[in-house]
Amino acid sequence: DVKVTQSSRYLVKRTGEKVFLECVQDMDHENMFWYRQDPGLGLRLIYFSYDVKMKEKGDIPEGYSVSREKKERFSLILESASTNQTSMYLCASSIQRDIQETQYFGPGTRLLVL
């Protein structure tokens, strides 16, 4: 059974703080993704990675960076948190797409930036 875990379920940070969101998957998946979910906007892709040390910008990368030093771990970094980054953050993973496969999601981190 695929397991995707996220380091925190809830986080409260102050404007300007540097924030790290960690995601770990245990299924040796090549692909990992970071989304944010906001009411009325659905899931928007921030960044994804298809291999260690590789990253690709998604639809809304501004204000974020990522790190993938190990295959199982994908970190999302908010360099200087702002109130408009208050959101639900979801990490997902999937295998390389040689077959049609689904993404497996973590439980999410609800971030509040004050």
């Binding site: 659905g42 899931l43 892709l45 994804f48 979801l90 999937s94 390389q96 049609q100 993404q103 497996y104």
Partner: protein, 112 residues
């Protein structure tokens, strides 16, 4: 630009009746489509998928229909149960690449 659209933000259905959730897409390169279900404070979970070579896929109470010419897919849940109350996202993938494109979600409420 939203390539996958769910135009109904919410839907209410009586228990035992059919729920029909709709999704439209604009990119003709999409060849694989999925539905996810999301409860509050949890991550989305995979529900059912369909390849573009099919027009229907069924799994228990859940059936997904794909109309490629209309660029439209729908999820049918029958009979609907209160435990089906959740937000449903449709998603699509291109025949190249690993990125999923998600719709904005439809919140389904099944009334007992």
């Amino acid at each position: 630009d939203q390539q996958v659209k769910q135009n109904s933000p919410s839907l209410s259905v009586q228990e035992g009746r059919i729920s029909i959730l709709n999704c439209d897409y604009t990119n003709s390169m999409f060849d694989y489509f999925l539905w996810y279900k999301k409860y509050p404070a949890e991550g989305p979970t995979f529900l059912i998928s369909i390849s573009s070579i099919k027009d229907k896929n069924e799994d228990g109470r859940f059936t997904v229909f794909l109309n490629k010419s209309a660029k439209h897919l729908s999820l049918h849940i029958v009979p609907s149960q209160p435990g089906d109350s959740a937000v449903y996202f449709c998603a699509a993938m291109r025949n190249t690449g690993n990125q999923f494109y998600f719709g904005t979600g439809t919140s389904l409420t099944v009334i007992p």
